[in-house]
């Protein structure tokens, strides 16, 4: 079966799904592995039987930090929180944590429940605006 490129578990399609407000992982129908970041081949069994599956967006904090000194691109955003979130379905993602005070990090704990959300970030043109995956306290 020839698959449409728009359905392939590519990074480009991952971000297209994020823009639709969907957090998806590449699911392998051969071994049931969930890959995030997505891959064209299953990282577990190497088969090419990967398809998108939407995740609940529910997870817990595996770890986090508060960035006070950023690179040029994000210098205006400081202080901001970057977290590693372990999703209910298994895989983890790296994303911003919003809705909590970055100046009170002692109030945030490894294991805290969080939920995915999407915030719009402006693009160079109105058509190029995009969603960014973030997490909020659940």
């Amino acid at each position: 079966m020839v698959r449409k490129m728009s359905e392939e578990t590519t990074i480009k399609n991952y971000f297209a799904l994020i823009n639709e407000g969907k957090l998806c992982a590449a699911h392998c129908s051969s071994c049931n592995e969930l890959a995030l970041p997505p891959r064209l081949f299953c990282p577990n069994c190497n088969s090419k039987t990967t398809n998108w599956t939407e995740l609940s967006g529910e997870g817990t904090l595996r770890s986090f930090t508060v960035i006070h000194i950023a690179g040029t691109t994000y210098a205006a955003d400081v202080p901001y929180i970057v977290a590693i979130v372990e999703l209910k379905e298994g895989p983890a993602v790296c994303a911003r944590l919003v809705g909590v005070d970055p100046l009170k990090p002692e109030e945030i704990h490894v294991g805290d429940a969080v939920k995915a959300d999407f915030v719009e970030i402006p693009g160079p043109t109105p058509e190029e605006k995009a969603n960014r995956l973030v997490f909020r306290p659940a």
């Binding site: 930090t65 000194i69 983890a92 790296c94």
Partner: protein, 359 residues
Amino acid sequence: MAAHEAIEEAGITPKDVEAAFIGNLSADQFNRQTHIAPLMADFAGMKGIPATKCEAACASSATALRAAILAIESGQHDVVMAAGVEKMTDLTTPGVIETLAMAADQIFEAQPGITFPGIFAILAVAHMAKYGTTKEQLAAVAVKNHANGVHNPLAQYQMEITLEKALSSRMVAWPLGLFDCSPITDGAAAVVLTKNKKARKFTDAPVKILASEQANDTMNLCDRTDLTSLYAARTAAYRAYKQARINPDYVDVAEVHDCFTIAEIIATEDLGFFKPGKGGAAVEEGVTQIDGEVAINTSGGLKAKGHPVGATGVAQIVELYHQLRNEAGKRQVKSPNVGLAHNVGGTGATCVIHICERW
């Protein structure tokens, strides 16, 4: 300059060097200069030789050293230079932070706004949550390494700092403050290698490389279930101990990759010097001081000696060379026999371990 000194130390001339492997992370971003290996070899007076750049983020020059070792072991060459160079101060601090972040996954880690201090801060938070490691223990690494750096004339910072000063420094990536971070550094390092059989022709006190091992790990932190340890470091160390036929107890002096204070604590655990979670207490108790059970970062480490990223791996070997020859002056460990270098690239996606012996 480093290449010149290494050639002089070996008692040879640049024309005797048959090949050069040069570690460099990003002269293209830092200095708008690519093709750095022939440039460096040219300025060191070496012409007509294969001069090759090796890049593995902050482990670049350890991979250059490994390539040089393999070039000798293969029988291709007898006298090879391994070097590293980085000139980081041409960029502003945000520019350096952005350039270094290129060694993390651009799409899945750098886009959310992670920085290198941020990556190691994430490891620190995980280590603190799992083992109760404290900010005081992190600061103790900086205090120790600064104390060692005082005795290293080549260190960037030859000054002691107090625990109070380390703890009160401005925040970079919580919980890591400025004194938890290695500095932005210009620097270079070089060593000359030869076959074991020929070593005595050049010096009465050669240092023998017993093991050279390298391993990788997932690029993304989110693909690792354990954020309190580096799999690449554990894997490379296991293989290196096996290759050298020793265990961690044999190591007298180690240069480990303390790009951030937490990285030294994790390194001493990954290398088997201390049990997981005990690295913080060990540094606090002085076990890793120059006169301790296992001397860690006698050079001052990346923290005080400086961290010219692409030069760091070979700079570690230069320190071990002097330690194993008993010529490290006031920072000399008492008659060490075995030294270990632990060089980490990026988020720990690369780790290179070398084990050396006084011969």
